[in-house]
Each structure stands twice: as C-alpha cells, then as structure tokens.
C-alpha cells in the first residue's frame, strides 16, 4: 500500500477517523456514553449536542471490508446461524462483535449505551438493531422515517418525524446522557454542517468539468466519509471540506483529472454515472478496472445515501428539527423508484455521461430492487447505454474479478464502438 498517493485531505481524513476510533476505544474508561446509529438518516448533530459519541456499524463493516477482515467476521456470523443471504454488513458487524468487538483500526469498540435507529427505509436496519439489542441489552430509540412513495416530501411526513424527535429520540438522548436538550448548541452544529455541505456539493459538482478533477464514486466515497460518519456538524468536517475544495480547485486550474491509487489519471476516456454501492473487499482492484481504461465516474448515487445535498437541501440552524426531519426523509435510499430514475437521468445529462453502470448488490434489497428497470428507463430517456454488474458489499466470496472485469471492459468497448459509428 506504500505506493498509494495520498493528498493532504486524505491524510487529514485518515487522522480524523483514527482519532475518533481512539476516543471510542477509551470511551468506557472515561465514562463517555456511546450511541450506535446508521449512516442514512443519522442525527449526528443531535447526538453530539448531548456530548454523546456516535458509532456507525456500517462504517465499521466497510472499513473491515477494505482491511480484509470482513471475510472472517461473516464466516463467524454464519457459524452462529445467520444465513448466506443476509446483508453482509450485518453479518460483518455481528461477526466482529462475536470476535471481541475490535474495531477496524485494531482498537476495542465500546458497547452502546443507546441504539438509535433513526431510519427505517431499510427493513434490515430494524432487524440489525434487534440483534444488537439482544447482545447488549441496552435501550433503543426508534425514529420511523416514512418512505417518500410519491417522490416528494409531504408536510405531514415532516411533522410525523419532528413529533417523534420530541417524543422518542430527544427524551432517550436526555436519559442516556443525563443532559437537557440544548437547542442553541444544536443550531451551532447545524450551522457548521451547512458550511461543510456547501463545500461537499461544490466538490461533487466539480465533476461537471471536462476532464473531471475527481472520481465521484471511488474518490467520492472518501469525500463523503467525514460528513456521512461521525463528523457532520463539527469544525473538523468544515476544515476537511475546505481543504478538499482547495485541492480540487487547484486540480481544475491545472486541468488535471482524478488521483487514483496508482497516481494521476492520464486521460479521461469515458464519463460514467454509477448506481449502487461499491464492493469494499476488492475496492482497489475494482477501481483499477475503471482507471486502467480511463473511465471516470462523474456522478454516483451511493455518495447520496447519507444525505442528498445536491438538490438544494441544507441543514438549517433556523429550523433545527425541521431540517433534521427533511434530511432523514431525503436520503437517497428513502426515495421512490421514479424519483431515483429522475435523479439518475439528471446526472447522466448534467454530467455529460457516456454510460450508466449499475453495481447490483444481491444482499442489499433496498438498493437492488428495480435496478434493471431503472437501467432500461434511463437508456430509453437519455439514449445513453447502461450496463449491469453484480458483486457484494463486504463478502469477499461474491467478487468475481474475472467476470466483473470482463463486463466492464465489454461495456467500455461498446461505448467506443458507438462513438466510432456516431
């Protein structure tokens, strides 16, 4: 890994993450309380406003995947009766717990003082925390976020979420932390969130340049890291995104493309939009299949699972709970199929994409259902061709490199062929 090029922002992110895991590893002895919660619809500012520490099991799972630890964890979970078809994030997390709950950086993880189930668009999340509740015997706060079935946010949905924040979430956070809800503190954090969100959107939209200075999927998952995990609403996140933005401004000025693990991308040959999560266990190999061919991802939906900011939403200090409700409702996986199609169509057009690629993850129903239909519909609307590959999140057994490479190469050659004819 020593040959990987690292920019200042990457190093900063690495430090943020490792500091956070350090703090978590000492949480119990220092008497700090820990809240486990999920990425989509996370209430990070609210949690932190009570001086509680957020811990995100999905982030642990994907980190374990990238560090080649997930395979053993999944086997361990299967030994304890979890089926092969269960979401591999869940099995990775359960396996990690069963193997002593050592975090991805090698340091022990604290037990939860509260399980904050702040999003239910994914039914598996519900089952996941049921399993954790069984293991830890700790309180659960459940925030039910209604599915945006008609593709737009309704006032009554917003009110429904706000009511639950008042009646369920805030009281439980007060109980666990022993502190009163402090709205001014929350407002200040939301103010910081919005600053970081502005910069994040700027970064993601920089891919509208040709050549794109970023890869909005393989690079993008790093860029959303701080804001999707434990840092939204912190000064650290503001600093990170300001630094990242400066780096990308420099790249645009220099006419440079994205930085890959093997260095600067020489030539942008294909601009792709990607739908679906990446594979984490073979992340670099997967990425290499793209950058070796000069394929750059200019927009992706996965980088919207922890919040959809490029349609204009920002956390709003003037309306704290309302904006938290809107945030939860607007996460990508909470959108209806037609709304997802509209978003992808917009990306294909606005980012001037040559193709749409779907990475379908069998064990993730919330993402995968209807993806082929989406592909056909976008092809029909835009005339831009699509392709479909299948892999998994963190189960190394479900990444067939030869097949996937074959599929990607075929797709890119097909794009070439169409250009040659056009």
């Amino acid at each position: 890994m020593s040959d990987v090029q690292k920019e200042a922002s990457m190093l900063l992110q690495k430090r943020l993450l490792s500091d956070h895991f350090d703090v978590l590893s000492h949480a119990t002895e220092e008497g700090r309380k820990v809240v486990y919660t999920f990425v989509p619809g996370n209430l990070n500012e609210l949690v932190r406003s009570f001086d509680l520490l957020p811990l995100l099991p999905e982030i642990n799972a994907l980190q374990s995947g990238m560090r080649k630890l997930s395979g053993n964890y999944i086997t361990e979970a299967e030994k304890h009766g979890h089926s092969e078809d269960v979401c591999t994030y869940v099995k990775c997390d359960i396996g990690q717990l069963l193997k002593g709950n050592i975090g991805p950086t090698g340091k022990p993880l604290p037990k939860p003082d509260l399980l904050l189930l702040s999003y239910t668009g994914c039914f598996t999340f519900l089952k996941w925390f049921e399993l954790l509740r069984e293991q830890y015997d700790c309180p659960v706060a459940m925030l039910h976020v209604p599915y945006q079935s008609n593709g737009a946010l309704d006032e009554h949905q917003r009110q429904y979420v706000i009511d639950q924040l008042h009646s369920e979430v805030i009281p439980k956070l007060e109980q666990v932390s022993g502190k009163k809800y402090d709205e001014d503190r929350l407002r200040e954090m939301l103010r910081l969130s919005a600053i970081a969100e502005d910069d994040l959107v700027w970064v993601l939209e920089s891919a509208k340049h040709t050549p794109s200075p970023i890869d909005a999927y393989f690079g993008g998952v790093y860029y959303v890291g701080p804001i999707f995990s434990a840092f939204r609403g912190t000064q650290s996140a503001v600093d990170y995104y300001a630094l990242l933005r400066r780096e990308i401004e420099e790249r645009i000025a220099a006419g440079l493309g994205p930085v890959t693990p093997d260095g600067q991308l020489k030539e942008e040959r294909y601009r792709l939009v990607v739908e679906g999560p990446p594979n984490w266990t073979s992340f670099r190999d997967f990425w290499r299949m793209f950058y070796d061919e000069g394929a750059v991802v200019v927009a992706s939906t996965y980088t919207k699972v922890g919040g959809l900011y490029d349609t204009g939403f920002r956390h709003d200090p003037a309306h704290p709970l309302e904006s938290l409700a809107d945030y939860c409702l607007g996460c990508y996986t909470n959108l209806s199929l037609p709304a997802r199609v509209d978003l992808l169509e917009r990306y294909v057009r606005e980012y001037n994409a040559d193709g749409l690629l779907i990475n379908s993850v069998k064990s993730c129903n919330s993402f995968s259902v209807g993806q082929l239909l989406m592909l056909r519909e976008i092809e029909k609307r835009t005339g831009v061709p699509g392709a479909f590959i299948e892999s998994d999140l963190v189960d190394p057994r479900y990444f067939s490199a030869a097949n996937i490479k074959n599929r990607i190469e075929s797709f890119l050659q097909m794009l070439d062929q169409r250009r040659a004819i056009a």
Binding site: L372, E379, S400, N403, I404, R407, Q413
Partner: protein
C-alpha cells in the same frame, strides 16, 4: 498477401479465423485450450495459416475471391476441390504421425522414472507395440473418405491408445492404469509443444506420399513462395489477457460475438451464446454494434459445463445427450440454479424410476430457462435471433430454445450456423480488419 487474424481463447477451445483483405474467410483453426493459452494460441494460428495455404492451393492463386462473403460459404477449405483435398488429407496424416512420434518419445521418457524401474524394458516394448499399431490405424483414419470422429490429435490418439491399452494390459504385469498414466503424462507434453515450420515439413511429405501431379506441385511451390503478411490481429475470449499482443488488439468476446453473428447472419438483432463457462445474451443494431448485453455473473449453472457434468454423471459422451433427450415423451421439471444440485436431482429421479431421456429433456430445458432470463434482462428476443457457442450444436437444447422463444416472444427466425463455434474469432478478425482500414483511411 495481407491477412487479418482473429483469435478466440475460450475456456474449452481456442479458435482462429483468418480473413483476406476483402474480408473473406481464408483460414481457420481450432484446438483444445488446455491450461496453456500461449501454446493454444500458437497452435491454432499455425493451423489457421496452414488452412490459408491450402485455400490458396485450392484456388491455384491468391484467394482474393476464394469465398463469397456469406454464411453458407463459411466452410472449411478442405471441402473445396478434389486434388487439393487429397493433398490436405496426406498433410494431416503426416502431421498426425509427427505428433505420434512425439507421443511415443514422451511416453518413453515418462516410463523411465524410478517408479517403473523394475519393468521398464517390458513397458518400453509394450509402448512401442501400441504406438506401432496406432501408426497403422492412422493410415485408416486418413484414408480417402474415412470418417474421423474428431480432428484433434488428442481425441483420435486417446481413443486408439485406450482401446489398445485395454486389449494389451495385463493386471499381473503392466496394468491398464500404468498405461493410462503414460498417456496422460505424454499427451500434455505433445499438446504443449509447438510444431514449428510444420507446413514446409508436412507438405513435402504429403506431396511425396500422395503422388501429387506436377501441376499441383507447381501450384504448391507458387503458393509457398507467397509471403503472408499478418496485417492485423485481434484477440478475444477468456484468455485474451494472455495473448502476446498489445491491449489495443484485444476485444471483449461480447463485441466479437455480436459482430461475428452479424457477419454470418446480417439481419441478426439478438445473439445468444452458450459457451463452456458463460452465457451471453447480446442485442446488436443493424451494423452489428452491441447495444446491450447480459451475462451470467455469480454462477455458471446453465452453461455448457452443466451438460458436461451431466454427461459425466450419466456416463455418456457429450454429443450423446441431445439425441437421447429428444426421445423424451414426458415433461420433467429440473432445478436449474445449481449444476451440482442438478446432478443430485438426476440421481434421485433415476432412483425413482424416471426415464433417462425425460430427465435429460428436463435438464436441457433448465439450461435454456437460464438463458431465457438473461435474454429477457438484456432486452428480449428480437428478429432475427442467432444462437452460437458449443451448446448450439445440441439439438435438444435448440428445440427447447425454439419452444421457449415462441412461447415468450412469438415467431422468430432462429439462425444457427454449423460454424457457430468460430463466431467470436470471426468477429475478432473483422475488428482487426476494420482497425486497419480505419488507419488506412
């Protein structure tokens, strides 16, 4: 003479197709892929270029108009002309004998290991005896109008050798197993060595043994003097990364199958290819350009190997499966999601007394059902529909496909070329030719 080569390194066989400047097929070759793609590639090119020479000989000149460019004429040059086909049969005989000598030498080498020290002389004598008799049989295989079951050296030699070994083995002295082990070790050596300068060597032997008339000798001499320039080469198939040429000369087999099918049947809009380890459903436009495709991703059940596995389970040869399945009168439904489970289901049903042909028909339908799902996902079955790959040679699979396509999409023209195994290599060669013409333009 300038030619363009397309090479398809498949999981089971490696194929080469050579086109002349006008895009006519002038040579082709096929060999087992083995585990060594470099050798398979070299062997198959060599074979294809031998065919080019023969196709030139059959015309008595450079074959610029040797074959009209349509599917019906995509035939082996060996079928053309009488005199040269005689010569070619002799050529093949000498090629076979040459390999047989190498087999003999390799078996001797294998027999000289310490394991066989006690009886090495007897073993050596027995191997000589067997290969002598194989030599006699070789002349029968390559007699005029002889019907060879296969053109692969491995197949012909293995069949003769096993027959003779079982006849001559003695469980108390040199066992059948020992003899098999000799062959298994040696055949790999033979298959993995390249027969350099084979054309000149075998041709002069063939001219001598076939009593070729002077006129033919003149043609051969003229043809041998023509320099064949390989102006472009494109590789495809699973082993394509192993091909010894640059990345720009490598195309995915999806594009090659699309273009190859288009060349064979220009009205093709949907292509189904069922090969050894993958199934591809491809949609192409009026120019043979791929517009959409689907492949099996996680699991290879429903591919050619599924049938291979079932044939093994039933102790049948692969080519016997289809005809047997076609005798079925009763509909049996078989699981199609896992090859190994299908094997278990097969044994279970046999135990229940169900007929082999009915079970086999169910198995063929199961494969095609998998393909139907891929076809649906790729965009359906448009007219015309071209079926390629090894499984397209299985009549029961074709019948099942015909039925299911009619049920799901209505009447479609179904094209199957007798040469469909060369579809990918043909597409690759067409890409090579196209790349060259673009540079020239």
């Amino acid at each position: 003479m300038r030619v363009f080569a397309g090479i398809d390194l498949g999981s089971t066989t490696t194929k080469a197709v050579i086109l002349d400047e006008e895009g006519h097929v002038v040579g082709r070759g096929i060999t087992n892929s083995r585990s060594n793609y470099d050798v398979a590639c070299a062997v198959v090119r060599d074979e294809a270029f031998v065919r080019v020479r023969f196709s030139m000989i059959s015309e008595g000149r450079t074959p610029s108009s040797a074959l009209p460019r349509d599917s019906a004429a995509f035939a082996a040059p060996a079928d053309e002309g009488v005199r040269h086909s005689d010569l070619e049969t002799h050529f093949r005989l000498h090629q076979y004998l040459f390999n047989l000598d190498r087999l003999r030498a390799s078996m001797h080498a294998a027999s000289e290991t310490s394991r066989h020290r006690a009886y090495v002389r007897d073993l050596g004598a027995l191997l000589d005896h067997i290969t002598d008799r194989m030599r006699e049989r070789a002349y029968e295989h390559f007699a005029p109008n002889a019907n060879r079951k296969s053109d692969f050296f491995r197949d012909l030699a293995a069949s003769d050798y096993m027959h003779l070994a079982s006849e001559l083995a003695d469980p108390k002295a040199i066992s059948f197993e020992t003899l098999c082990a000799m062959f298994d070790a040696a055949i790999l050596v033979v298959e993995n060595s390249i027969d350099a300068q084979s054309f000149e060597r075998h041709m002069s032997a063939a001219l001598a043994s076939s009593n070729a008339p002077q006129s033919l000798r003149d043609v051969v001499e003229r043809v041998c003097a023509i320099e064949i320039e390989e102006a472009g080469t494109v590789g495809t198939g699973y082993g394509r990364q192993r091909l010894p040429f640059p990345k720009e000369q490598i195309r995915s087999e999806i594009l090659c199958h699309g273009l190859g099918a288009h060349a064979m049947f220009p009205r093709t809009r949907t292509v189904l290819d069922i090969g050894g380890q993958d199934t591809k459903a491809i949609q192409v436009d009026a120019n043979g350009i791929v517009t959409s495709f689907q492949m099996n991703d996680r699991c290879a059940a429903g591919c050619g190997r599924y049938l291979g596995y079932i044939a093994d389970e039933m102790n049948l040869a692969l080519h016997e499966l289809g005809p047997l399945a076609q005798q079925s009168r009763n509909h049996v439904k078989i699981n199609s999601t896992c090859t190994v489970f299908a094997g278990a289901e097969l044994r279970d049903r046999l135990a229940l007394g169900q007929k082999r042909e009915d079970i086999l028909a169910g198995l063929h339908r199961a494969i095609i059902l998998r393909a139907m799902s891929l076809l649906a996902r790729s965009g359906g079955v448009e007219d015309e529909f071209t079926f390629t790959g090894g499984v397209a040679r299985n009549a029961a699979a074709v019948a099942a496909l015909r039925d299911l396509v009619r049920e799901n999409y209505g009447e479609r023209t179904l094209n199957i070329s007798a040469d469909s195994i060369y579809t990918g290599a043909l597409g690759a060669a067409l890409f090579a030719r196209r790349a060259e013409s673009r540079i020239a333009a």
